[in-house]
């Protein structure tokens, strides 16, 4: 009898696929929409080495008790360069700490990038194997997350920050979270 069950396995798996695909085809589902599964959830756990070894590692404990911005970037990413000046503006105008996470980047490249471009970041974590990026559900760099004082993710932007979004979405959200 057990042997028979083995022969039925393929058809069971097929049924599972069929059900998922059936729901996946629902007309109101937009596969290109990118809401983060993490919005409204606590920030995932991680423990990263930092660019400045003196500052200790980067863990979610660094975010405790304040509104923070987490920005994934890489030295090899051109849109990150475009976004960079706006990060300075963001840090200055809204007085929030920005934590950078360098995604799949060699340490010396990140160092050179920061030396050339300046650092808007309070701390820079090194995610060389990209695991933390997976946990955050990052689809590409740059990507930006905003966390509230309790470490809950409130916002995600899966593209470079632009001045319109900075003034229209990110700014107001940061202000309301700060209260």
């Amino acid at each position: 009898m057990n042997k028979r069950l083995f022969y039925l396995l393929p058809i069971v798996l097929l049924g599972l696929f069929g059900v998922i695909a059936w729901y996946g085809l629902a007309p109101d589902r937009d596969p290109s929409a990118l809401p983060s599964a993490l919005i409204g959830k606590p920030v995932p756990g991680f423990n990263l080495a930092t660019l400045d070894p003196g500052s200790g590692g980067l863990t979610p404990r660094d975010f405790a008790g304040k509104v923070t911005v987490v920005n994934f970037f890489a030295s090899w990413c051109v849109p990150c360069k475009a976004e960079h000046p706006l990060l300075f503006q963001l840090a200055k105008d809204y007085q929030v700490p920005i934590y950078g996470i360098a995604f799949q980047d060699k340490t010396e490249d990140t160092e050179r990038y920061i030396r050339e471009m300046g650092s808007p970041y309070s701390k820079i974590g090194l995610d060389q194997n990209g695991r933390t990026a997976i946990d955050f559900g990052v689809t590409g760099v740059p990507e930006t997350f905003i966390l509230d004082k309790t470490g809950i993710i409130r916002y995600r932007l899966a593209q470079p920050i632009d001045p319109g979004r900075l003034a229209g979405e990110i700014g107001p959200l940061l202000k309301s979270l700060a209260q």
Binding site: L14, A21, G24, P27
Partner: protein
């Protein structure tokens, strides 16, 4: 008028496919000879009608008949003729027509050359092939008619996507389809065999050429696609684990497993159930590929149509085809008689392990591909699964597989001599370890995968050569004997040697290009220079250029190597007439040690451009390896035992009804 002829031919083919599905199947069950023989006529006529429809569509494209919707949407009167023709299959409807054309072609080949097939098996296999054709013709006629008219006819078309206006891509889809559809033939034979209730060495020999053909063309198609992504998309990579790339890779993995399993059935009459299951799954993955690309269920750079109705139709085809065959499998497979016995350490054992690793590897790719979809359906969340996932799941499975690939061929059937095999491979092992050490020494700071990948590639390449040396008894017999042995080795053996060698070379290429790629993104003004490694690039400026249907900015880079003139690169950025987004044409200078690769991007200032320069070590090895693998497949396909007129080794026993 031409379009109507094509449409009419499709309708006729559709009706015929229905008859081809029913009559031979019933005929085979009841022993009605003329009904069984009808399969042959129907399969040939199918090819005629679908061929006619395809030619009609090609004619519409060549004449730029914009009253046909598909032509209007995907062609333009100023397009070069080759891309007008390639546009025929550069869109959803036309590519579907190509799909059924290849299906009909294979059906006709079985009808013509399957003279020595048992009539029942042949009738049943062609009947299953007819069912697949019926389903896809219905899909085409009811949801995606390539001959739909557009009234009033516009004066000009919307042009083929510029990314697709490329010689490599003109060939990429037909190759992939040959592969996908080739597995439909193995599927049909597997289902026919389940209905018959017998799988034997003769069955394996009939199925194997189709698997080989599918595998070879799929290999070529995937390599062409990777090559296209590499030089056309301008991002400097060749594989991104995109769902649609995975969709072509999964049938390839399963097809590879199937190819090896069939040898076991053929030579040793074992692993039958598993082989049948793989044959069904290989085609299942081809259908999943079709589903993912055409249903709009996922986002991908490759996706075609964004129409849920089409998605439901393909899903229905998929569920019926696989549900039916899996059901048949659950019912009939337990009755298949197990064949030859073997010890765990033997050629068969090595092939079982190969299958296990390939199967698990396919599962990891499948999970990575479907997980985002499943998660978004279940919890509404969105994730993306990319290279880091595959690096920790897929790659570690490939390492033992590649190690095993050198050992397996040296083991005997039934009972193998593992210490003996390892002893013969000692040279390869020592050399591989040496190369790993050297790599580690030269490229300090690279991840562990780089020296490992190179070492595994070297191990496999040498192991493959050693196996060939063993076979021709090089150094152990007189040169005349060596020559005779080399000449009389079956072509299938050479096919294996070439394919394994090709994979080894490709693995070295993949490792090198992933581990040591150097990328530099800069804003440059004319006269600026940058140096990467031994190469210095001087940017000489950008000139306007003009092609048949595009305007371009052409950059000039004078490259010197160690201070001596090396080459001049001309990357382009093209603006096609109708389509708005510009495309990049990377300039690449290849050599065996690697490519230098320049891309010119946006204008960054009044006199400066964003420029990307890559040094891509060992990339050409990937293309050479891929070509060798495909060549290996072709060589094996030309083996004596598949040619007509060669007597079967085993007597063909007529099955006694199901």
């Amino acid at each position: 008028m031409i379009a109507e002829i094509g449409h009419y031919a499709l309708v006729l083919a559709f009706a015929l496919a229905l008859a081809q599905s029913v009559l031979p199947m019933v005929g085979a069950a009841r022993g009605i000879r003329p009904w069984m023989a009808f399969a042959r006529t129907a399969a040939l006529a199918q090819l005629g009608f679908i061929g006619l429809a395809f030619l009609a569509l090609v004619a519409c494209f060549m004449r730029s008949d914009f009253s046909v919707l598909a032509v209007y949407e995907h062609s333009h009167s100023q397009q070069p003729m080759i891309y007008k023709i390639a546009a025929t299959w550069g869109n959803h409807e036309g590519s579907l027509l190509l799909w059924v054309l290849i299906l009909a072609l294979f059906g006709a080949l079985v009808a013509l050359f399957g003279e020595n097939l048992p009539p029942r098996l042949k009738a049943r296999a062609l009947s299953v092939q007819g069912m697949i054709g019926f389903a896809f013709l219905a899909f085409m006629l009811f949801t995606s008619n390539p001959f739909a008219r557009l009234v009033p006819a516009p004066l000009e078309g919307q042009e083929l996507n510029p990314l697709l206006q490329d010689p490599g891509l003109a060939m990429h889809p037909p190759m992939l389809y040959l592969g996908y559809v080739g597995f439909s033939m193995t599927f049909s034979f597997a289902v026919a065999a389940l209905i018959e209730g017998r799988v034997d060495a003769a069955w394996a020999r009939w199925v194997r050429p189709w698997t080989l053909l599918a595998w070879t063309t799929l290999t070529a198609g995937i390599v062409l696609g990777a090559h296209w992504a590499y030089y056309e998309l301008g991002w400097g990579g060749w594989w991104s684990w995109d769902p649609v790339e995975n969709a072509s890779f999964m049938p390839w993995l399963i097809g590879t497993a199937l190819l090896h399993c069939e040898t076991v059935v053929e030579k040793r009459d074992a692993l039958k159930v598993w082989t049948i299951l793989l044959a069904i799954i290989a085609f299942g993955f081809s259908l999943i590929g079709t589903f993912l690309v055409r249903s709009g269920i996922i986002t991908s750079v490759h996706a075609f149509a964004q129409d849920p109705a089409r998605g439901l139709f393909i899903l229905a085809i998929f569920v019926v085809a696989l549900g039916g065959s899996f059901g048949l499998f659950a019912w009939r497979a337990p009755a298949l008689q197990p064949g030859g016995l073997f010890l765990p350490i033997s050629r068969e054992g090595a092939l079982v392990l190969n299958n296990l690793l390939l199967g698990v590897a396919t599962a990891t790719v499948l999970i990575g591909t479907l997980y985002p979809l499943a998660l978004s359906v279940i919890s509404g969340g969105t994730v993306s699964v990319g290279a880091p996932y595959y690096l920790v799941t897929f790659v570690p499975l490939m390492v033992p597989l590649l190690l095993l690939m050198a050992i397996g061929p040296l083991l005997g059937w039934k009972r193998g001599d593992l210490p003996g095999a390892l002893q013969r491979l000692a040279v390869a092992g020592v050399f591989a370890v040496f190369v790993a050490g050297y790599t580690l020494h030269r490229e300090t700071g690279t991840s562990i995968w780089a020296p490992l990948g190179i070492a595994v590639g070297v191990w496999l390449a040498l192991g493959t050569v050693i196996e060939w040396i063993e076979r021709v008894k090089l150094f152990r017999a007189r040169p005349r004997d060596n020559w005779n042995r080399a000449r009389h080795l079956p072509r299938a053996a050479y096919g294996m040697t070439l394919a394994h060698l090709g994979l080894a070379i490709a693995v070295i290429g993949m490792t090198g290009s992933s581990a040591w790629k150097v990328e530099s993104v800069q804003v440059m003004k004319p006269g600026d220079s940058i140096t990467i490694g031994r190469y210095a690039y001087r940017f000489d400026g950008v000139m306007p250029a003009r092609g048949p249907n595009y305007l371009a900015e052409r950059g000039t880079f004078t490259v010197t190597k160690d201070g001596k003139p090396y080459t001049v690169l001309y990357p382009e950025r093209r603006q096609y007439e109708v389509q708005e987004s510009p495309t990049t044409e990377a300039a690449i200078q290849s050599s065996l040690s690697g490519d230098i690769y320049a891309v010119i991007g946006d204008r960054a200032g009044p006199d400066s451009w964003t420029v990307r320069i890559y040094h891509q070590p060992l990339v050409p090895w990937l293309w050479i390896g891929g070509a060798l693998m495909a060549l290996g497949g072709l060589t094996s396909l030309s083996d004596r035992r598949y040619r007509i007129g060669v007597p079967n080794r085993l007597p063909v026993v007529q099955a006694t009804g199901a």
